[in-house]
């Protein structure tokens, strides 16, 4: 980055001083305009948080911290708790990361490796960037009509028969489940994970790679003992950004998770997540408490994603060139 001309203004020759005042005014207006536009972002962010917090107040007053630990969700008796949704959000995102992490890092290693043939790398890069652009509702449609039946008729029976001794592969299966939602999320976060990790891995200095190869390391050893340790922090940031995406993904999850507020140890069970309960109930909610409870769910969701994102930014910012804007 090589900006910073702001402070290094060329000294003005005395002859031009008569015109100078005129110019400074134009500059000042321009600068004020630019700075106020910048401050606008901060104002929008503040309004954003207030727009969630203020309507959530009735529920926060009513339920206190117990809201986070309660399993109730009953609009009739006005008893609300966030636990089933928190659980669903965390479980589906975890499943997604367990699937996406190894695949994403492997794919990023492939795409960042200049030795691979460009006529394979370029179209693959392109395909993955294309996936990043596919609207989540389309992924959800595909999940609902293609993936859910597939999970019901083959994947879940297979897991149940083969790994049925594990507690999270037990119980009846219907296709709509935490597991299916996790798979859909994995597909959706892969592009971000791959693109960001690829940029981070690219940023590993060439001299390090060459030195390692010159010492006789195989490619696997180069990857394991030079590239991955060097890129560790940046890759962690990429994983966290992908996790932030998974936690907040709404429409696609809503279409495949079954939307049943409950807590089950089995990944085959139907569940609910924070964003999907918002999508389903928000416009139908009546009364200050019910609406407030939904706003509070939104507040919980935003707080979690902000925390994950801030952490991720602090890690990814160290690496030049890795910007999420280049993915979306």
């Amino acid at each position: 980055m090589s900006q910073g001309t702001a402070e290094t203004v060329v000294p003005v020759p005395p002859v031009m001083l008569r015109h100078r005042r005129h110019r400074v005014d134009g500059d000042r207006i321009f600068q004020c305009l630019a700075i106020s536009a910048g401050i606008l972002v901060l104002a929008i962010a503040a309004i954003f948080l207030l727009a969630l917090f203020v309507p959530a107040l009735p529920a926060i007053r009513e339920f206190g911290l117990g809201f986070l630990a309660s399993r109730d969700w009953n609009p009739v008796s006005l008893r609300f708790g966030a636990l089933p949704f928190l659980y669903g959000t965390v479980i589906t995102s975890l499943v997604a990361m367990v699937i996406a992490f190894p695949i994403g890092i492997g794919a990023a290693l492939f795409l960042a490796d200049d030795a691979r043939l460009p006529f394979i790398r370029v179209p693959l890069s392109f395909a993955i960037e294309l996936l990043a652009g596919i609207p989540s509702v389309v992924v959800g449609l595909w999940g609902l009509f293609i993936l859910v039946p597939l999970m019901r008729t083959s994947v879940e029976p297979f897991l149940s028969h083969t790994f049925g001794f594990l507690p999270f592969f037990q119980g009846p299966y219907s296709g709509s489940s935490y597991l299916t939602a996790g798979v859909v999320l994995a597909i959706m976060v892969l592009p971000i994970l791959v693109a960001l990790s690829r940029d981070v891995i690219r940023a590993v200095p060439r001299s390090l790679r060459e030195a390692s190869l010159a010492l006789g390391a195989t490619k696997a050893e180069l990857t394991w003992s030079v590239i991955l340790p060097y890129a560790r922090i940046g890759v962690t940031g990429a994983v966290l950004l992908a996790l932030g995406r998974a936690l907040g993904e709404t429409i696609a999850v809503t279409m495949v998770i079954g939307n049943r507020p409950g807590i089950s140890g089995s990944l085959f069970a139907q569940g609910y997540t924070l964003p999907s309960v918002l999508a389903n109930e928000f416009t139908e909610a009546t009364g200050k408490i019910y609406q407030g409870a939904l706003f509070e769910l939104g507040l919980v969701l935003v707080s979690i994603t902000i925390a994950v994102n801030v952490l991720a930014r602090l890690l990814v910012w160290r690496f030049k060139g890795a910007s999420e804007a280049s993915v979306v």
Binding site: Q3, T5, P275
Partner: protein, 279 residues
Amino acid sequence: MSRVALRVLLDQLVTGLIILCIMAAAIPVVILLLFVVIKGLPGITAPGFFTDLPHPIGVPGGGVFNAIVGTLVVVGIASLLAVPIGTLIGIFLSEFGRNRVGYAVRFVSDVLTGLPSIAFGIFGYTVLVATLGHFSAISASAALAVLMLPLILRATETALVLVPNSLREGGLALGAARWRVTLQIIVPAALGGIVTGALLAMARAAGETAPLLFTTLGNEFLQLNPGRPMGTLALTVFKNALVPYSSLQDQAWAAALLLVLIVSVTNILARVYVRRVQR
């Protein structure tokens, strides 16, 4: 087995695993697109798909004209709001942003980029829908504009920073004021990146569903007044997918194909454009 042979074997194993990974990452894209094309093609080529309004359940035929108009209006107004402001903020960050305000703006906008899209819907609901007392297309546009803003401003900043400093210095040396240098030299030089950023943000906004659920709500009829609820393509996909009628589900696939086409063409155009400008 000798140590060297073991290392070579391990190396080949890792290479195989990496190739497996890239295939696992790429194959879902292909499958997904394949299904959208196969399932959507009959619907999108049906007569009246682009020109008719949705028919009541049970009446065959019908189209998504209202949703196409709605998508154009909602995204259009959002872009009118977000593109000028976002570009201006990008200019601020690149030309005047080496200070605390600049870093704060960068950080906040990056965090905004990572927020779930449904949160923008809640924002639009509280700020506009609840205040106005009814759902409307403009509140959806406002929510989408806030969603697009951080994307546009970061793209603009990145494009402006790439402009060589010699251009700035040349302009200043000729006696031009900084605002003139910025608007007449720097911005035109970075136009490719700025346009690309705006196009990508528009594509992203066109595909969003979650923020629209709380703001424009959807509409089965043609609505041209942005102050009233409008339907959009993404909402059509979502709503028709959850209805147990196969004719409506087919329409969901067709609308999904149209949406994917719009978004992908915009994406490809943006990337091709930036590549051509960079050369």
